[in-house]
């Protein structure tokens, strides 16, 4: 769970526009991307430490990152853009840290694997997620990012539960995926951990049981 993305993952994360171009090693550009990454990480660290402050000041972020305030605004026109870049970073991080595993396993293995992966993503991402949700009506840039995050959760479940979902009609399949996404929402995870005081394993147990009950019977191969 503590595995970090590689330098290549991170540079391709913070600058979507450069990611699609052929790679050419450019030391200055690489350093600049690295600075962006450190600024984003400083913002995320401050959010996790103090979730009640959804947007720390530029001075606080700069201090934490070890750069000047000017460095921040050289790379992000305003703090809203930094927040959007942090969302991109976290999405890329979730993809890098949580590839689908055990997709050909038996039902129990697949449920356990999907739940543990999702739980890890929720555990790491809840602080930023709350900021995105509460700021979404004030910042149009956040809407596609939240949409992408939700779509990825559903896509992952489609991969993990393909045998069971294939037995359903299109309508039932859509309904089931929507329900599973609701049950495994980040806020659902946060409530289990914060409100009910469940351990990581206990909270995973809630999801494993719920998904197992929700899915139709696994077809025999």
């Amino acid at each position: 769970m503590s595995q970090r993305p590689t330098a290549h993952d991170l540079t391709s994360t913070v600058s979507i526009t450069t990611a699609s171009r052929p790679a050419r090693i450019d030391g200055r550009r690489l350093r600049s991307e690295r600075t962006k990454q450190l600024i984003i990480e400083a913002y995320l660290a401050l959010l996790r430490e103090n979730p009640m402050t959804p947007m720390p000041t530029a001075a606080r972020i700069a201090e934490r990152a070890g750069y000047s305030v000017r460095s921040i605004f050289e790379r992000f026109p305003d703090l809203n853009k930094l927040r959007a870049a942090a969302a991109d970073y976290q999405l890329a991080q979730a993809a890098a840290l949580a590839p689908p595993r055990n997709i050909d396993g038996d039902r129990k293995t697949r449920i356990k694997s999907q739940v543990e992966t999702r739980a890890g993503t929720c555990e790491r991402g809840v602080a930023l997620w709350r900021v995105l949700i509460f700021s979404i009506d004030q910042d149009e840039d956040l809407k596609p990012r939240v949409k992408t995050a939700r779509e990825r959760t559903i896509e992952r479940m489609e991969i993990m539960y393909r045998p069971e979902l294939s037995t359903l009609s299109e309508r039932d399949r859509k309904h089931l995926l929507i329900a599973l996404e609701a049950i495994t929402d980040i806020e659902s995870w946060a409530r289990m951990r914060e409100l009910y005081g469940l351990s990581f394993e206990e909270a995973c147990g809630v999801w494993v049981r719920a998904i197992d009950r929700m899915l139709p019977q696994t077809p025999s191969t």
Binding site: M52, D137, Y196, V206, R209, A210, M214
Partner: protein, 182 residues
């Protein structure tokens, strides 16, 4: 009137209304707003209490002695109606809670009321479970019927009220154990 103006504005736009817009909508001066509420936080707390009282009156438990399908439909209809009505306030409450113990306690109170309703409606089925499984089932159903889950079905998936209700009815039915034979 001031509280109702605040709630109406929340329903019209997700932006948190200012004292000036609230006063204008209520037909009072800004001074009148602050004569009654020391600050906007106090107004939010009062609006939450008002909404909770209204919501409780609107969401009287019905059919809790009915058969499984009747209880499922009744519970989902009531819950979805509350979500349709009170989602904007719920969002504002969460967005503004900050470190306010008053708003946090109200959020907890609302969640407790949702859980109690689940326990009431599905008492027969939940009674067949051990303590851990019961808690697991309650948590899963509570997540499923969260305000934001309803909002996603309506806003993100573009579902009608009927289709969204169908998702909840089918899902709760799957999450619950078999109904014991009485």
């Amino acid at each position: 009137m001031i509280i109702e103006a605040y709630l109406t504005l929340l329903r019209e736009s997700p932006q948190i209304p200012t004292a000036a817009t609230i006063a204008e909508r209520a037909g009072y001066s800004v001074r009148s707003v602050f004569e009654r509420f020391p600050d906007l936080h106090a107004l939010r707390v009062a609006a939450t209490d008002y909404a909770f009282t209204q919501g409780t009156a609107q969401a009287v438990a019905r059919d809790f002695s009915g058969d499984r399908l009747t209880r499922l439909k009744s519970h989902v209809e009531t819950r979805s109606w509350i979500c349709e009505q009170w989602l904007p306030l719920w969002r504002a409450l969460n967005a503004n809670q900050g470190d306010s113990s008053e708003l946090k306690s109200r959020i907890n109170l609302i969640r407790q009321a949702i859980l109690k309703r689940i326990e009431l409606m599905y008492e027969a089925e939940l009674a067949t479970l051990g303590a851990t499984e019961r808690l697991q089932t309650l948590i899963a159903i509570e997540s499923l019927i969260d305000f934001e889950s309803w909002a996603r079905m309506r806003e993100f998936s573009g579902m009608s009220i009927e289709e969204a209700r169908e998702v909840w009815v089918k899902s709760i039915d799957r999450l619950l154990p078999p109904t014991p034979v009485s």
